[in-house]
């Protein structure tokens, strides 16, 4: 998917994450987390895997994590990417590209 415009999803509440995607060249990830020392690498891995699954090759991605579980991080990244492509509202490929 091609990131055409800035979009974000999520909140800064505890157990959530705020994910913002913007047009960029290559994947440029900026990550801050309340559990950085213990889960920073896992969060990064989850974000990058999700982007790869969505076939996002070029994007500036900002993740502000407040202790979200992996399933929440995935959901926030996916929603931000789909919003950026104006495809978040319907006909989502549940179980396919979203899994």
């Amino acid at each position: 998917m091609e990131i055409r415009k800035p979009a974000s999803a999520g909140t800064l509440e505890s157990s959530d994450a705020m994910v913002t995607v913007e047009p960029g060249t290559g994947i440029e990830l900026s990550l801050t987390s309340s559990v950085m020392n213990q889960y920073g690498r896992q969060i990064k891995k989850t974000v990058l895997e999700t982007l790869e699954r969505l076939d996002v090759k070029d994007a500036k991605v900002t993740v502000v994590d407040k202790g979200a579980l992996d399933c929440t991080i995935k959901a926030r990244v996916e929603c931000a990417v789909f919003r950026s492509c104006d495809k978040s509202e319907n006909n989502i490929d549940w179980g396919g590209v979203i899994r």
Partner: protein
């Protein structure tokens, strides 16, 4: 991925707790409080511009979190919104046990949802018929059509009244005695029983008023509701406490069932237990009491 067992159409549903599907802090382990059913909400608890995000969250919640024996139902947006079709798709794809149809007013509403559920089941390779349905009756029309709604589909397991919207339609306010909704509750109960489905009461929103809450739950029990919708985990315990059969009721039911089995084996149809005349008509009630007692952890015998 957590594979969920096939949903049971009739199971214990004393408590159904609403949670916003968009709040990860709430949804990640709401089952720990021992609620019978969790109601993940895509409707009123989710802001209009977050419906999409809530669906992504819901999908991964359903696929990741092990809710164990707790039933997982999703409240979808009303049929008058642009959201409900995608809501149905995500519910079915995620493997929710059931869908609560918001603002249901007719059998046609149920059939419309059912059609889309079936399509989604086929699309996502889910066993056709797996996804259960229940209806939220929120308007006078919904109450008047309660019977046809409840009987509209073999997927239907029950109906619930939604107090806030109903009172708005009726131009009434909450009253502690429940007089404002007495007729509606009664009509809905009669319809549900006639259609052979379960019936659930609305939420009690004043968390501070413990006495008022107790009175309403007691009234629910006395009117014959199967359960109640809740907004906070701390409301669970009282419902389970009050809906549980008493020790006396359990002993009585045990005696009736045991006597019936002995007498009918001997060819006797009518007999007495503790001086009261008993016949076959008493048996389903007694058995239900024992089943409920077992579910509440109060009965360990082998009669049911």
């Amino acid at each position: 991925m957590i594979p969920r067992p096939k949903p049971e159409r009739f199971r214990l549903r004393r408590t159904m707790m609403f949670l916003s599907a968009q709040k990860p802090g709430l949804t990640k382990d709401a089952y720990i409080y021992g609620v019978d059913s969790i109601m993940l909400d895509l409707e009123d608890a989710v802001a209009e511009n977050q419906k999409d995000a809530a669906r992504f969250s819901l999908y991964h919640t359903l696929k990741t979190i092990d809710y164990g024996d707790t039933e997982v139902i999703v409240r979808i947006n009303g049929l008058d919104t642009p959201h409900w079709k995608e809501d149905i798709r995500v519910c079915v794809a995620g493997g929710a046990d059931g869908i609560r149809i918001a603002k249901c007013e007719s059998a046609q509403d149920v059939l419309t949802v059912e059609k889309h559920v079936e399509e989604a089941e086929k699309e996502f390779g889910v066993e056709v018929g797996r996804t259960l349905l229940m209806a939220a009756l929120e308007s006078p029309k919904g109450i008047l059509n309660a019977y046809e709604i409840c009987a509209a589909s073999p997927r239907m397991f029950g109906c619930a009244i939604s107090g806030g919207d109903f009172r708005k339609c009726m131009q009434t306010k909450f009253t502690p005695s429940g007089i404002d909704m007495l007729t509606a509750r009664g009509m809905m109960l009669i319809a549900a029983r006639a259609a052979g489905v379960q019936c659930f009461d609305t939420v009690y929103t004043n968390l501070k008023d413990e006495e008022g809450y107790r009175a309403e739950v007691m009234q629910n029990k006395e009117m014959g509701f199967d359960g109640k919708s809740l907004i906070n985990p701390k409301q669970i315990r009282l419902v389970h406490e009050l809906f549980a059969p008493t020790e006396k009721e359990i002993t009585q039911a045990e005696k009736i069932v045991r006597a019936y089995r002995e007498q009918s084996a001997a060819g006797v149809g009518v007999f007495t237990v503790d001086g009261k005349m008993i016949d076959i008509a008493f048996i389903p009630g007694a058995e239900r009491t024992l089943k409920l007692a077992r579910a509440c952890g109060l009965y360990e015998g082998d009669l049911v």
